[in-house]
């Protein structure tokens, strides 16, 4: 039984508009340490927009985000990464020309201390550091079961494996909070099961807090601790999976109303 901790991330009254189009309206919810918190909703509900606000890709027009006790009007991608938030992408954003190993190694970037000159000369400490980082990366590769593809350029791997590399790169950052943007989109049942297992294991073994976006209700309800439901940019439900499943608004959003 895992222990769910204090609130680590809280979004308050977030609104986001692109010109006249309102992507998000007045959304508030919190994420507790070590939990799997899902954001679900039909296509176009604003799930990815929400994630992009947390990640600093979009700047919300209103509201605030509190992370580890610090409150921000909007976030900055790099700063967020430094504070221990990693993410994966809905439409894979891997470094296609680079090998699986190099892709995951880039995730260690923030943990690298030695400077450029030392790296270039492969001088003692820099060399040791590279080896130490490499060990961590190898562990991730083992964990995700992608050992045979270590040296393969990522662009050549099938889609399901690319998704794993994307997850691996995020894990390499040793994040406290992991944002997953539809990690199971476009996968077959078997691949989905594998991905679910990885997500649960990450949460379990490393205690990583996970914010998961998914529109496949079934998967989400099985693995989440708490769920936020968005529809047309508004929050229509929030709570444990069973509560949400019974929520009238949620049923209507997913199934439509009978007239």
């Amino acid at each position: 039984m895992k222990k769910i901790g204090e609130v680590i991330l809280e979004v308050k009254n977030i609104s986001l508009a692109f010109g006249g189009v309102k992507a998000l309206t007045d959304i508030s919810f919190d994420v507790r340490e070590h939990e799997i918190r899902s954001i679900i909703g039909p296509n176009g509900a604003g799930k990815s927009s929400m994630l992009n606000c947390i990640n600093g890709v979009y700047q919300p027009t209103q509201g605030s985000i509190t992370f580890k006790g610090q409150t921000f009007r909007h976030m900055n991608s790099r700063q967020v990464a430094e504070m221990g938030v990693a993410r994966t992408f809905q439409n894979l954003a891997l470094f296609k020309g680079m090998s699986v190993l190099d892709n995951i190694m880039t995730g260690r970037n923030l943990h690298m201390k030695s400077n450029l000159l030392m790296q270039a000369l492969r001088w003692g400490p820099a060399e040791r550091e590279e080896i130490a980082q490499r060990e961590k990366v190898e562990r991730i590769i083992d964990f995700l079961e992608i050992q045979p593809y270590r040296k393969t350029p990522v662009g050549r791997l099938p889609y399901g494996l690319q998704k794993r590399v994307d997850l691996g790169r995020a894990l390499a950052m040793e994040p406290q909070v992991l944002l997953l943007d539809e990690p199971m989109a476009g996968m077959n049942v078997e691949e989905k099961q594998d991905m679910c297992r990885f997500i649960l294991d990450v949460n379990d073994e490393f205690g990583t807090t996970i914010v998961l976006i998914e529109h496949d209700m079934g998967v989400v309800m099985d693995i989440s601790d708490r769920v936020v439901v968005l529809d047309y940019g508004k929050k229509i439900g929030d709570g444990a999976p069973d509560e949400v499943r019974r929520n009238e608004d949620v049923i209507r959003a997913y199934l439509g109303t009978s007239h």
Partner: protein, 309 residues
């Protein structure tokens, strides 16, 4: 036979210089996905800075030592190129993060005109000379094997050596360092690179500085051969077919592309010229590049771009 070798040698030397300029293109393209139209202007700007500073600094400080003047001039020019890199990031590229390649290309076109204008108004628009003490005298090689030997310009030999060292250093940097890996990551996907905490702005300053120093080296070598003048920025046009031939993403490609074009144009000028009426040197590179675009658009060593449909 001696004459053929001599022609090939001459071609290799010119080719090496094309390679140096092409290298600047490849570096920036690899690391930021930007096709940098301003590379030629950077060569001109760097060479002007070098030529003028090595002339001014002795005057300011009141000493008369050619070697010291060149060293200080070189350092000053390096500093200037780093400032240029920083400004380009701060005022141009930094504002264009996550934009389309074509937008960035147009931005570098703007930088080209700006640098050409600024360079000439800061440093003057006359013809200046750079004299880094490269030996000008020709030497004869293989005198035993051929009658009369092979005539080679010593200056060219030194230039080729410098270029080779530079290339080796760059290859090491890109493949073996964590920063090099970060550079390649940024080239592939800005957004993803940001999400794992790679500082885009710092990476761009680094890569433009490196490209600036490569431009400086190219500028010094060309400048000491031909003098520093506006036409230097046009040499870059010869580097375009080189990168098409070698592949935009490949450092070795830039080198081999440069050599192939250098040798090709010299040999065809000498041996085909009399039959076709001469002037082949002027168009040879472009026709070759055109042929490559039809047959192998990614170049000899470029990464093949496969899009998932």
């Amino acid at each position: 036979m001696g004459f053929l070798i001599e022609t090939v040698f001459g071609g290799l030397m010119t080719g090496m210089l094309y390679s140096l300029i092409a290298l600047g293109f490849v570096l920036i393209f690899k690391a930021s996905g930007v096709f940098n139209f301003a590379q030629g202007a950077m060569v001109l700007f760097a060479a002007l800075a070098m030529a003028r500073f090595s002339e001014w600094i002795p005057k300011w400080l009141g000493f008369d030592n050619a070697i010291l003047a060149n060293i200080l001039g070189f350092l000053a020019a390096c500093a200037v190129m780093i400032v240029v890199a920083w400004c380009i990031e701060r005022f141009v590229l930094g504002k264009l993060v996550n934009q389309e390649g074509i937008t960035l290309l147009m931005a570098t076109l703007g930088i080209t005109y700006f640098l050409e204008g600024l360079g000439q108004s800061l440093f003057g628009s006359d013809i200046y000379k750079i004299d880094v003490g490269m030996p000008k005298d020709p030497i004869f090689l293989f005198e035993k094997s051929f009658e009369g030997g092979v005539l080679v310009n010593k200056e060219d030999l030194y230039a080729a050596l410098i270029a080779a060292v530079l290339v080796a250093l760059l290859a090491l940097f890109f493949q073996k360092t964590a920063t090099g890996r970060a550079l390649r990551a940024v080239a592939d996907d800005h957004q993803a690179a940001q999400s794992i905490g790679i500082p885009l702005s710092r990476i761009w300053v680094i890569v433009w500085s490196v490209a600036g120093v490569v431009a400086l080296v190219a500028g010094i070598i060309w400048g000491s051969k031909l003098g520093v003048q506006f036409s230097l920025s046009l040499v870059a046009l010869k580097a375009l077919p080189v990168v098409i031939l070698g592949g935009l993403t490949s450092v070795p490609g830039a080198i081999i592309g440069g050599l192939v074009i250098g040798v090709g144009e010299k040999v065809s000028e000498v041996y085909l010229g009399p039959h076709l009426g001469g002037g082949i040197e002027i168009w040879f590179a472009y026709v070759l590049a055109l042929g490559f675009l039809l047959i192998r658009p990614q170049g000899l060593f470029g990464e093949k771009i496969i899009d998932r449909v």
